[in-house]
Amino acid sequence: MRLDRRQFIKQAAISSAFATAGALFPGISFGGWSSLAQNSGMISWQKSPCRFCGTGCGVLVGVSDGRAVAVKGDPNCSVNKGLCCMKGYHSVQALYGKDRLTKAMVRKNGSLVEVPIQEALDLIAQKLQETKDKHGKDSVAMYGSGQWTIPDGYVASKLFKGCLGTNNVEANARLCMASAVTGFMTSFGLDEPMGCYEDIDHANVFVTWGNNMAEMHPVLFSRMLAQRKRKVDVKIIDFATRYTRTSQAADKTIIFKPQTDLAVANAICYEIIRNDWVNSNFVNEHVSFHKGKTNIGYGTEDHFVFNDKAEPMSFDDFKVFLEDYTPEKVEKLSGVPAKDIKYLASLYGDPSVKVTSFWCMGMNQHTRGTWINNLVYNIHLLVGKISTPGNSPFSLTGQPSACGTVREVGTLTHKLPHGVVMNEQDREMAADIWDVPVENIDPKPSYHTVEMFRALDRGDIKFIWIQVTNPMVTMPNLIRYRDGALKDDRFVVVSDVYPTPTTDVADVILPAAMWIEQEGMYGNSERRTQHFAQIVDPPGEAMSDTWQIIEVARRLGFEKQFPWDESDYIEKIWEEYRRFHAGPKHEMAPYSVLTQRSGVQWPFVNGEETRWRFNPKYDPACTNGKEYDFYGKKDNRAWIWARPYEPAAESPDSEYNFWLNTGRVLEHWHTGSMTRRVPVLHNAVPSSYVELHPEDAAELGVVNGERVKIISRRGEITMPAQINGRGVPVRGMVFVPFFDESYLINEVTLDAFCPISKQPDYKKCAVRLEKA
């Protein structure tokens, strides 16, 4: 044992040296370490991406006696260079909660009873087939997740879109990054960021747009702080609607009224043009100007339909459009002093300053989410600060594979692994690779997420299979959708790792393998695909979500499309999926490369990863011979959009006089179904609360911990007050984290969404408060 202990200390010595080297020499790699670490004799270490957020930190999971017992940051992973956040360090404990689902359950006479998993899979196949035969192909649906592995999402799409012929495939990433997708598609014609995390090592100014990175992306925030410490001229500007831990660390916080980020972004563009800070060469060569429809609605009614229409406009037309957005006019609307708007514009406009803008849910969960994404791109495009190291408009994702599984595999109703269902060539490619008749793939999208749950409520959908997500906590206007799921002739299948409010409404529960209990891949925010091997065994009869779908597909007669063996199905699925992305614009690394590295960025061309797209110095897909090539659009240009300010779907009034803003906390992952089973994380933040401004609390007559009733037009909830806690809202706003299933704040929220992206706005609705 003495020898083992020495070796363990030696491992710590090596890790420490790697961490030091990583801090001094960003990007440094020690390829030989993994094999060395295997020989420690105490704990064997294997690489994996972290289970939780979209940052995609590389971790090393320590295994002893078949159990995951430790986690450390992977110094070979350029994302986090050996660092983790508190969720990452405690992540393996989430595997071992006492109430882990280990057996399948079927509801019989109103009660859930354990059954062998094969019996449950038989029942699912039977119900799915019966429902399809009786009510049509669009009466069955699959609702997945940005926490699905890439193979999970791929086989779900193949089964439902390719074999069953319905486009009823959606994922919870619709709730978190659909506006980012439509923002990219409308501005660039291609999804996902052009930059990468290495931008952090080059930027002088960081602007966080409604983004509490200190809690939501703590490792990237640490990299920003390290950059500021290393260099003398680095600033962090926190542009927000409430004071957070990001505000505490920022050089300046600028508070705006909810929804008015649209106006402020336009005012920044106005100032850039007024001061002649436009990069004219870049704009003339690489940008075109467009406008779309206005007064586009909020989608609060069933069957809401909206299709935007782009019309070209000139730079002069764009200047005229911006005349409504002088800093002085926007100050009145947004509450942001004109001098602060001019200051922001001066940062973007200074050609000697490299600016990276970060955003996440604040801009995406927004009834004009697509527009505000467009507007931030407008700013970067006007000054030509894009696709070069340090100059990056950077949309962060919240889930580990929102990009990899949902955006790249295309597990949304309108998408295919390559392209969209509406495009004949894309359907032909999918049919060819999937070995199904092309007629199987319906050219018409069906239901986006909110409409999918409305269809379940109406009875248009009667069978739904939910995997790796917890919609009975996360759907806005939740009461309607829970009541819908509970209706008599609905059949709900839920695959999960722990009991949740969603398993409570299930007719069948399948126990799922979690994270490193299966092999898989995630794709993070910076186009990085990250493979992980099966490191430990799943408990009981728990089975990977991929294999659950394969089992059902075979029962439905699709053995030919799902022929794989359990020993190598992930490799086979990956290599089939990779065919969809062949070519320099999206080439994915082969399986053999993925297994060796701590993530590989696509496009992966001739053995090289692409760090900055649209720039021929880094991107082999650029072919126009110019300084930039925005090859996603047919005119080979990035599009600047004239998008106006329009108000929120619901704003405070005399009856409901507060804004309600919802979100997350550092310690908990989304609905808390995993992190609340980790004692350290649970004890750090054991229950949810409502943040109030101290003066609002005083007027209401409540002190810390006293209970406050929050009432909206849809529901009400009573919960303890937090005053001057980690976050402090402005007067007239309250904030509630959604991680705690004991306080279902989404019974209060509104199911309004961006008409282009169909992503709901969880940040803005009107409530009133009462002392309980």
Partner: protein, 97 residues
Amino acid sequence: MWYSGVYTEWYSSKNNKKETMPIFSYLAMPREGARENLCTELSNLEYCQIIPAENKEIVVLVTDTPDEDIERSLQLKLKNLTSLQSLSLAFGYDEQD
């Protein structure tokens, strides 16, 4: 006990003979063009383990000596390596303390 200073600071502060020696890790930087030589020379030293970086001119050196005399002797040998430009301590852990 964890150290962030250099080895000599630690060593000069110790008066008693130690039963268990600390393990140290360092970042070793070669002189220009001498990376391969440095790796060879360090590999040839007893009680040394090296992990060269794949993409930078940096070598991680881990030392694990059995007693103070050998530690002192190793330090001397390291000091005299012609291929070595600098050595920075990254980690030191003394189980006895």
